[in-house]
């Protein structure tokens, strides 16, 4: 059995991805919405859905019923991908074959899934006031708690300096003020708006019977929608002059985040060269950054780079002493220059290629990574499958990597640290 997809009567796409080595079935609904000024009232919606349904008005009743269904896992999530929010409602349950007796676990779990998504608990036709109050408070705490993790905090600050005028710099939950402004009415209206208009996918992955699942989904998940609102194409950030921002905080290890802007995204034919470029520069222990900054000079405990390939951005992160800022950034700049000049050894190229291809093969065994790949495809508008990427990586040359490197432009250097220098 291979991956298949079909369109349900209301326009929602149902994706079926069998994984025979799994003992469970995963079902997830994904709603895509632009990350804009209405982020707060959008992001709160899944948090409200998890509080209760018509049949199970409280989270306790809902969770107790899920526990009875052999610990069926239920979760919600809000993900930021490019300049989009991805709202998630998902369940995962054990396949009947591992359970005593002939059960109808799938159908019972699907009933809950349907209720959570379509029939939330309401009072006077809206979300319950106490639930809205509680989730607003939790989300506000979550926004504030960014401060508790200095690396994430530094990353967020870097984004805010990188593109203050873009939705991309926003917290996925919106600002504290925007969260405060959410009311029962606005949250409920937004929920209706999302259900009717958001581009929506339903993913079923793992071990399942194809006919049984198609029946279980299509008989339960038909709600009236407007003809699909498609996602906006990702819009790259404008190129700007390099800026260096230093901010003080009383911490013993400084957090460095450097944002590198480029034009190559998942939508480009050069995408395989982009991931090789990132791997050679900073994706692995054998990469230039780790070797030159940590192994040769002992400047950091961690240093590496990662991509937001939807936006065409690269982020270099490191934990270093405040006094090592100058030396570290110089070494990083040298590595970027080496990449542009094509100073890349055959080993660096081949090891990185091999690591990336093995990583892709391993994704076959990982449900959440496969789902992440599918979400990216939806947002970027280009579907890179595991085999197509493995094949494309084979063809990338040092010249292709160099071509990507020439597009990459260091735009923001952000450093959070205590005293020193």
């Amino acid at each position: 059995m291979d991956y298949t997809q079909q369109t349900l009567a209301n326009g929602v796409t149902l994706h079926l991805l069998p994984m025979e080595n799994y003992k469970t079935t995963f079902i997830g609904a994904f709603l895509y919405w632009p990350l804009g000024d209405d982020a707060a009232k959008t992001a709160i919606v899944p948090h409200l859905l998890q509080r209760g349904t018509v049949t199970y008005p409280t989270a306790r009743e809902l969770r107790a019923h899920l526990a009875e269904l052999y610990g069926t896992q239920f979760g919600i999530g809000v993900l930021k991908r490019g300049e989009n929010l991805v709202l998630q409602v998902r369940i995962q349950l054990v396949n009947d074959q591992y359970l005593p007796g002939n059960t109808s676990l799938l159908e019972e779990a699907m009933d809950i899934f349907r209720e959570v998504l379509l029939y939330p608990y309401t009072e006077q036709g809206q979300f319950a006031a106490s639930y809205v109050q509680g989730e607003k408070r939790n989300i506000q705490s979550r926004i504030k708690s960014l401060l508790n993790d200095k690396s994430r905090f530094a990353f967020h600050r870097c984004l805010q300096h990188l593109c203050p005028d873009r939705g991309y710099s926003n917290n996925k939950y919106g600002s504290l003020k925007q969260v405060e402004a959410v009311t029962r009415e606005t949250a409920w209206q937004q929920y209706q708006l999302l259900l009717q208009n958001a581009a929506t996918d339903i993913y079923v992955c793992g071990r399942f019977d194809q006919e049984r699942i198609a029946d279980a989904v299509s008989s339960r998940l038909q709600w009236p929608r407007n003809p699909g609102r498609e996602l906006d194409k990702p819009l790259p950030l404008e190129k700007r002059e390099h800026q260096v921002i230093r901010e003080p905080m009383d911490i013993s290890q400084g957090k460095l985040v450097m944002a590198v802007n480029g034009r190559v995204t998942q939508n480009s034919d050069l995408y395989p060269a982009l991931i090789l470029y990132n791997g050679i520069l900073g994706g692995f222990p054998h990469s230039k950054l780790f070797q030159n900054v940590r192994e040769q000079r002992g400047l950091s405990y961690y240093i590496g780079s990662s991509l937001d390939s939807i936006m065409g951005l690269q982020f270099i992160s490191a934990g270093i002493d405040a006094g090592s800022f100058k030396e570290t950034t110089e070494v990083v700049a040298d590595q970027l220059e080496d990449m542009r000049r094509g100073n890349i050894s055959q080993d660096e190229l081949e090891w990185t290629r091999s690591r990336l291809q093995t990583g892709l093969l391993q994704m076959y065994d990982d449900l959440s990574e496969q789902v992440a790949l599918a979400i990216d495809a939806r947002i970027s508008g280009r579907r890179w499958t595991i085999p197509s990427l493995i094949e494309a990586l084979d063809a990338v040359s040092i010249g292709d990597v160099q071509e990507v490197a020439k597009e990459m432009y260091l735009q923001t250097t952000y450093f959070l640290s205590g005293g020193g220098d």
């Binding site: 080595n21 526990a67 979550r142 708690s145 291809q357 093969l361």
Partner: protein
């Protein structure tokens, strides 16, 4: 190498287990259909094993040495271990806990090249005196990185309050001043003593042929010579009874971080520890799981949110709960948790609560088997302490209300410590 096959038909799993001529135990979990292949080589030597009696003589080492040795095993002046793994397309890593050190790799191709390398680099140290000196500054950076993490500070605060200067309360990486006392000779000695194959386990999972795997591993071991297995008696001290004072610190955080530590009785032996862990997982679901009335009341009152969580550890030397999370009212939350334990001690639990949560744990156990890495790590950890991870399933299914209530009665809610990291003024 001969090996034995154990079947777990209910779980749809089986395990092959054998012993190489070197004394190395090999455990294999066949995982047909999986692309990834995963191996871990582990020794029951961790951060708390700082003192031991070796062939009758006492051997004492600084804090952080097991972790330091783990770092240094990757050094090879001739080549780079990480790069060779990279050339095979594999990723490698290692970690040190309080009670074990483990080296691992994950790959989809070139499995036997990777396995050969893993066995060789862990069994033959190649690090140098200069490399040891250079490593101190890298580990010092690692220690600093953790020091900035308020979650880590509040957690160590709870351990310190429960155990004073016992090794379990020390940072696994040690302190910066400990690093200066760790030198080349000492690391070599530790390797010789604690990495003897007779003490270690290799655990492998993936779509691999068992016969070939065991033959290959036996051949790798036959090529090497090992010193005779030394007689080692671990001298982990018993922690002082009683509880220290509460911990308070101020850091750059948005609101208070809290840990409530609650000491429990050490296990009689590792088998008793494993059983206790299972009883406790059931007890915790009933007490403060997401479907418990208590959890939902605290959530509705805003005392806890999704950051709330619980850890339970049980060893023959120490055992404790650590409840942790962010809250605006640490004192009150601690009070609520302790009162609920006392209430359950007085009122008992219902059969219905037990049944529901037991079903939940049975489902979760099966779900966890999707993850190759987590299953292998659990198997390795259990085996090093003489246990069988997959056999836990049957034991879990047989747990009763009496088991949970018996455990509950043995808890002493006064053996508690509160650790709080407050925001700066």
């Amino acid at each position: 190498m001969n090996y034995q096959v154990i079947e777990y038909p209910v779980l749809g799993e089986k395990v092959c287990i054998g012993k190489a001529g070197s004394g190395l135990t090999c455990i294999f979990l066949p995982k047909p259909g999986f692309k990834r292949k995963f191996a871990i080589l582990a020794t029951p030597y961790g951060a708390i094993n700082r003192r031991a009696q070796v062939d009758g003589e006492e051997f004492v080492t600084p804090a952080g040495i097991a972790h330091f040795l783990e770092h240094k095993m990757f050094e090879d002046p001739e080549t780079s271990i990480e790069n060779i793994f990279a050339s095979y397309g594999a990723s490698t890593n290692a970690f040190t806990t309080h009670t074990m050190t483990a080296y691992l790799f994950s790959t989809a191709e070139n499995f036997y090249d990777c396995l050969d390398l893993l066995l060789d680099f862990v069994q033959k140290p190649a690090f140098t005196e200069e490399g040891v000196i250079a490593e101190r500054s890298i580990i010092a950076q690692e220690i600093k990185m953790y020091r900035d993490q308020p979650n880590w500070a509040v957690y160590l605060g709870a351990l310190g309050g429960m155990y004073g200067d016992h090794p379990v309360a020390e940072d696994i990486a040690g302190r910066e001043e400990d690093l200066e006392q760790i030198d080349y000779q000492l690391l070599c000695k530790c390797h010789e003593l604690f990495y003897n194959p007779g003490r270690m386990a290799l655990v492998v999972a993936g779509d691999i042929d068992a016969e070939e795997l065991f033959t290959f591993t036996a051949a790798n071991q036959e090529k090497k010579q090992f010193p005779k297995l030394p007689e080692i008696k671990s001298l982990v001290p018993q922690p002082q009874p009683g509880i220290g004072s509460d911990f308070r610190a101020s850091m750059e955080v948005s609101r208070p971080l809290f840990c409530l530590g609650l000491r429990d009785w050490p296990g009689r032996d590792w088998q008793d520890c494993r059983r206790r862990e299972m009883i406790v997982s059931l007890f915790l679901e009933i007490f403060v799981g997401k479907n418990s009335p208590f959890y939902n009341r605290l959530y509705d009152e805003g005392l806890i949110d999704d950051s709330f969580g619980v850890d339970y550890a049980c060893t023959p030397w120490y055992s404790h709960f650590i409840f942790g999370g962010e809250t605006d009212a640490p004192q009150r939350l601690a009070q609520e948790l302790l009162e609920e334990i006392k209430r359950l001690q007085a009122c008992g639990i219902s059969q219905q609560q037990l049944d529901v949560n037991l079903r939940k744990l049975i489902g979760l156990f099966i779900m966890d088997l999707n993850g190759l890495e987590s299953t292998v790590m659990a198997c390795a950890a259990d085996w090093l302490q003489g246990g069988d991870y997959l056999a836990r399933f049957e034991e879990l299914r047989s747990l009763t209300k009496e088991d949970v209530e018996g455990f509950l009665q043995s808890l002493d809610a006064d053996q508690r410590i509160l650790s709080v990291v407050n925001p700066l003024e």
